[in-house]
């Protein structure tokens, strides 16, 4: 962590869990026209297909709702992302809200990633049903999460900061028997 004053909730790394670095995040709301403008600004297509994420480099746009996208970039990219979006969107009705600190991200990965997530997520995470590139807001038991499959055996979780420990500790509980 470059900035020692920045202290996100602590998530312990494990074989199957990789805490992801701090990131820039915007909640983007707006019409397809606004999304198109944002796509141009970001260089990442904001998917018009439900529950699909697109990523270019460290920038990504995750479809969360018909007028809602979660935009993610590197921590250092905050200014550039914001300026680009503001310039491209102009007067096009939209909402852009910085939520970089609202949530934290970690990856659940490895051969047991699907199994671990299915201990608390009621969606069908079989790769045929939840392919690479699919993303959605959903639940992990009593917490809301955003789930994005970034590789066949890797999922990125975005969790509101005060729920992160709950989700990570439940996953750890489910992982205990894998050590057997």
């Amino acid at each position: 962590m470059s900035d020692p004053n920045r202290r996100p909730p602590r998530i312990d790394a494990r074989d199957w869990l990789e805490p992801l670095p701090a990131a820039t995040r915007f909640s983007f709301r707006g019409s397809p026209e606004a999304a198109a403008a944002a796509s141009r600004a970001l260089g990442v297509e904001l998917s018009q297909v439900a529950c699909r994420a697109n990523a270019v480099g460290e920038r990504a746009a995750l479809w969360l709702g018909p007028d809602e996208q979660l935009l993610i970039g590197a921590e250092s990219d905050a200014g550039a992302m914001r300026e680009g979006l503001v310039a491209a969107l102009g007067d096009t009705p939209h909402s852009l809200v910085d939520i970089s600190h609202r949530q934290v991200a970690f990856a659940v990965k490895g051969a047991h990633a699907e199994w671990l997530l299915q201990s608390g997520c009621p969606l069908d995470l079989d790769i045929g049903q939840f392919p690479v590139g699919m993303c959605t807001r959903t639940v992990f038991l009593k917490s809301e999460i955003v789930l994005w499959r970034t590789a066949p055996d890797t999922f990125r979780l975005e969790v509101w900061r005060s729920f992160a420990d709950y989700v990570a500790s439940l996953l750890a509980e489910a992982a205990i028997e894998l050590s057997a």
Binding site: D67, D124, S162
Partner: protein
């Protein structure tokens, strides 16, 4: 080992012996035995006592249907499990089991006196007596009745074991891995479908494991099972779950499975959960749950040694145990002959086979085979009674004449009686799914009719008989299920040979029983001791519906849930009332199929995983300093920070004075925050909140009130305008999610004309409230880019800058009545900024305060807390905040609701202040107000105390109260009614401190 063990055969591992204890006595057994099979192998039939009459009972069945042989298995004091069926307890070396519901011992049980008193204790006896005197039921009669009831003893220590849970999805879920289930699974899996196969037993194969001579595709049935299971296990899209019971069928093909992971292990690894709850979502379900044999009804039918013919066959063929040496077989069904044949071949003497069916009953292959080997078959013969003490010793037979009359026949000595009244298909899951049932007259049982979900039953559980037929039926079901999920299957053909005994039976009674008046006392529900006489009594007393009979007699309500008794009760009642079984009806099947551990339902949810523990940026800091938390929703908020030996009262006094006289800091991060953005943001808020937002300038904030459309106060909070098209809305801590949901509702469904979006930013911002006369001085040390002067940043102004080098959104707001600021920083910086403010405040003696001091400070100012001073029944006027309403607005949520007569009526409770006459008395929150002192109850109450504290600043107590016509009562003396006597109070203004508001505007 005992002579009851066969020399070879069965699914037990004869090379691997183990020992266990039952009621303190040590026995030997083999790996693969159940507790029941091992006890039988040791010649022990007496395994339990019945619920009501404490009658001695042996094992009736060999599986989930067992009503009698209930035991407690104890690993240690915290790991005691009562009410387990011995037929399903897999043995491990060192297992400790005990019988239940007996004292002092199983063979000599004082409670058996109930058996002698049974004439006085018919069904529903308790409805008719124990009524006098009035209090006697609860005080005199109920305690011994409760003590006598209740089967096993619950654990007395918290369960240390862990439980897991898992969601799973598949194309085809196959429930039951017998012949039909395995055929279905093989077919569907071969077609490429994702398949889950679960089976309640340790080993897959179902009834095939109890077969002696059956073959499939030229192999012995058990070899075919092993090969099939191996094939399935090798397929990547197949999951096999043995020891896993499908216990519940929930809407939309959601099936609950309970998997037992460690219960069969002598020394389970600590990493393993004890059980796992699977919530399976299947696109298609194949139910292949088989069928359960029914006992017959005759006096003494509950004696140890009387058991289902199929169970005796299972014990013999699967466990290598002869259940006795000399058997009488009572055949109400062809299947009994199959058992007799196998037992005879194993050297058990078959003393007689009484064919209780009417003459001319189906003459199936089993009967023919039995006849062929010369077994002593007595046609038109029945069992009149079984006799014995703790084990059956003899059977008295009767001869049934063509007109139905019975004449007494021989008495035959025996040590086991095998009964077979026919088979009841296990339609539980089909019925749970709301699938219809139809009565099959030929079979004498209910079978599944049209399914209500995406499911199909296969094999025995839908009345299909015969091994070949079951395999074919299973394969067809598997193929159809696979096809329905888009996988085309080729239906395999199986070549099976087996002695396919008929399963048609006689539900209810021995056919001639009805001619015996009064009805003989035969047990229908073994565990609950419901007899044919009880059923007859229920009818006599006017209960005709089977649901009534069940509730009146408790038949079918024991831990076996009527698996062996249900159809017999129906059959008996039908015969008694000369109705068809279908007319008597059927009770609804409910989950669970067999009892399921509470812990498995709870899964991971225990301790800190019971609910998320939401922590604020100051959480660890607070712990390090001994702060005391309170739960507010899922949040942990610091209630107070004791110094040294301070109690809460002392700490709160100090914290309050610290704020009033200097400066204090408070973690306000839990407040809900919503960013409202769009060109119509102001119009949206205008419609949503009672206030007028159009005239709020960017950079300024205002206190907002939210109603529901019924006119009652719902939430409140400060709302700041960040830009023309951007507002920062705060809500109460508990209201964040529901206000957000309500906003989305109105935006999406009512006011679709507005261009506005909302985003939750509750967790984006960490918020530190810095309050007190020296607040500005503290912040001045840290804040850059903002002019903190009163003119540049007046009360209710907002500015952006930096603090400690991180972005700052600064609200000049006060919930304390002092000069106040709320420092909003991106949340990852919250802890750092918290610490920095604390450090910077040292020279000003900064006090860290918690929610309790925050409450006192705001109460001194008469600021309300929605949810404490209001309760969902108060209007803005009641709460004294009607001033916030935008008077010129045509509409807002709740405006019309406020116009309803009762919301405008006189006499409503209004929020006022209370000053106790004795300034040192702090009132109790929730205490009631009365107008006159010292009256007897009931008395009229005119209001209640909503908030009450000791105010250190004022040196006295203060309180807020909601009182009828409160504002018209200023100066009146009222009384707070307390158990120890009335407390006189004066009605005063709710603003106790600095009523002019001078301190806030400095």
């Amino acid at each position: 080992m005992s002579s009851l063990r066969t020399p070879a055969g069965g699914r037990i591992d004869r090379a691997d012996s183990l020992s266990f204890t039952f009621d303190g006595r040590r026995y030997q057994a083999f790996v693969g035995d159940t507790l029941a099979s091992a006890l039988l192998a040791n010649g022990v039939h007496l395994m339990g006592r019945s619920f009501k009459y404490h009658r001695p009972r042996g094992v009736l069945g060999a599986g989930a249907e067992e009503p009698n042989a209930l035991v407690t298995v104890t690993r240690d004091d915290a790991r005691r499990t009562p009410n387990l069926r011995a037929t399903q307890v897999e043995l491990y070396d060192g297992l400790v089991a005990e019988s239940q519901n007996r004292w002092p011992s199983l063979s000599f049980d004082i409670g058996a006196i109930n058996n002698l008193l049974s004439p006085f204790l018919p069904a529903g006896f308790y409805n008719k007596t124990f009524m006098w005197p009035r209090s006697a039921w609860h005080k005199v009669w109920e305690p011994p009745i409760r003590a006598a009831a209740g089967l096993g003893v619950a654990p007395t220590l918290p369960d240390p074991d862990r439980y897991a849970q898992q969601f799973a999805h598949c194309d085809v879920l196959v429930i039951g891995a017998g012949a039909a289930g395995l055929a279905a699974a093989l077919t569907a899996a071969s077609a490429g479908a994702r398949v889950i196969v679960c089976d309640e037993q340790a080993e897959m194969g179902g009834a095939l494991l109890s077969e002696r001579d059956a073959t499939i595709d030229g192999q012995p049935a058990v070899a075919w099972v092993a090969a099939s299971v191996a094939r399935l296990a090798a397929m990547p899209r197949v999951r096999l779950l043995p020891r896993t019971t499908a216990f519940g069928y929930f809407p939309h093909n959601n099936i609950g499975l309970s998997e037992r992971i460690t219960e069969h292990l002598a020394d389970p690894a600590p990493s393993l959960p004890r059980e796992r709850m699977w919530q399976v979502r299947a696109r298609e379900v194949v139910i292949a749950t088989g069928a359960i044999e029914r006992p017959l009804l005759f006096p003494g039918n509950d004696l140890p040694g009387v058991m289902l013919a199929s169970a005796a066959r299972t014990y013999l063929n699967r466990y290598g145990v002869r259940v006795g040496t000399r058997a009488v077989v009572a055949a109400g069904c062809d299947a009994a002959f199959a058992a007799a044949l196998d037992l005879a071949a194993a050297g058990v003497q078959i003393a007689a086979i009484a064919d209780v069916r009417a003459a001319g009953a189906a003459d199936g292959p089993a009967l023919a085979a039995a006849r062929a080997v010369g077994l002593p078959i007595r046609a038109c013969s029945t069992v009149l009674a079984a006799t014995g003490a703790l084990r059956v010793a003899a059977v008295r037979l009767g001869v049934v004449a063509a007109n139905g009359n019975v004449s007494p026949g021989d008495t035959i000595a025996c040590d086991v009686v095998l009964v077979s009244g026919g088979y009841t298909p296990s339609v539980h899951l089909h019925s749970q799914s709301r699938g219809k049932l139809a009565f099959d007259e030929a079979l004498g049982a209910f079978v599944p009719a049209a399914p209500a979900e995406r499911s199909r039953s296969a094999g025995h559980c839908r009345g299909i008989n015969g091994l070949g037929a079951a395999l074919e039926d299973g394969a067809c079901a598997g193929a159809a299920a696979a096809l329905a999920t888009g996988h085309t299957a080729t239906t395999p053909r199986f070549v099976a040979t087996a002695l396919d005994a008929g399963i048609e039976g006689t539900p209810g009674a021995l056919p001639q029983l009805a001619s015996v008046i009064p009805p003989a006392k035969a047990f229908v529900d073994f565990q609950n001791d419901v007899t044919t006489r009880d059923l007859a009594l229920a009818r006599r007393e006017g209960f005709e519906s089977i649901e009534h009979i069940k509730r009146y007699t408790t038949t079918g309500m024991a831990t076996d849930q009527g698996k062996t008794s249900g159809l017999n009760a129906l059959g008996f009642v039908a015969a008694e009332s000369a109705r068809k079984i279908a007319e008597v009806g059927l009770t609804t099947y409910r989950m669970p199929y067999t009892p399921v551990t509470f812990g498995a339902f709870a899964g991971f949810a225990r301790g800190d995983q019971f609910d998320p523990v939401r922590k604020t940026p100051s959480h660890d800091w607070t712990i390090a300093r001994g702060g005391v938390f309170e739960d507010v929703g899922m949040w942990k908020r610091t209630r107070f920070f004791p110094v040294g030996t301070e109690d809460m009262h002392a700490a709160v006094d100090r914290e309050c004075l610290g704020v009033r006289n200097g400066v204090g800091m408070f973690d306000a991060s839990t407040l809900g925050k919503i960013e409202v953005v769009g060109k119509d943001a102001a119009e949206f808020l205008n419609r949503f909140y009672v206030n007028n937002w159009a005239n709020l300038a960017p950079g300024r904030a205002r206190y907002g009130i939210l109603l529901r459309d019924d006119g009652f106060v719902y939430d409140d909070g400060v709302i700041g305008r960040l830009a023309a098209d951007r507002f920062h809305v705060t809500t109460t801590t508990g209201g964040a999610a529901r206000v957000f949901g309500m906003m989305e509702d109105y935006i999406q469904t009512e006011w679709t004309d507005l261009s506005v979006w909302i985003t939750s930013t509750t967790e984006q911002w960490a918020v530190v409230a810095v309050q007190g006369p020296k607040a500005r001085e503290v912040l001045a040390k840290l804040v850059t880019g903002i002019d903190l002067s009163p003119t540049a940043l007046p009360h209710m102004a907002i500015a952006h800058g930096e603090i400690c080098g991180v972005p700052l959104m600064l609200f000049r707001v006060s919930f304390s009545g002092e000069l106040g600021f709320e420092v909003n920083v991106p949340a990852d910086y919250g802890t750092h900024v918290w610490e920095a403010i604390h450090a910077a405040g040292q020279e000003f003696g900064i006090t860290v305060y918690g929610t309790e001091a925050m409450h006192v400070l705001r109460a001194e100012k008469g600021y309300i807390i929605v949810g404490q001073d209001t309760d969902g029944t108060m209007t803005p006027d009641d709460a004294g905040v009607a001033w916030a309403i935008g008077k010129t607005k045509h509409d807002f949520i709740g405006k019309r609701g406020l116009e309803r007569p009762a919301l405008k009526a006189k006499g409503r409770k209004q929020l006022v202040g209370l000053a106790t006459v004795d300034p040192q008395v702090v009132l109790e929150e929730g205490a009631q107000l009365v107008a006159t002192a010292n009256r007897p109850a009931p008395y009229p109450m005119i209001g209640y105390v909503t908030s009450a504290y000791h105010s250190a600043a004022l040196g006295r107590s203060i309180a807020l109260a909601a009182i009828a016509d409160g504002r018209a009562r200023m100066g009146e003396t009222l009384y707070v009614a307390m158990p120890g006597g009335d407390i006189p109070v004066k009605v005063v203004s709710p603003v106790f401190y600095d009523p002019e508001g001078a301190r806030i505007n400095v």
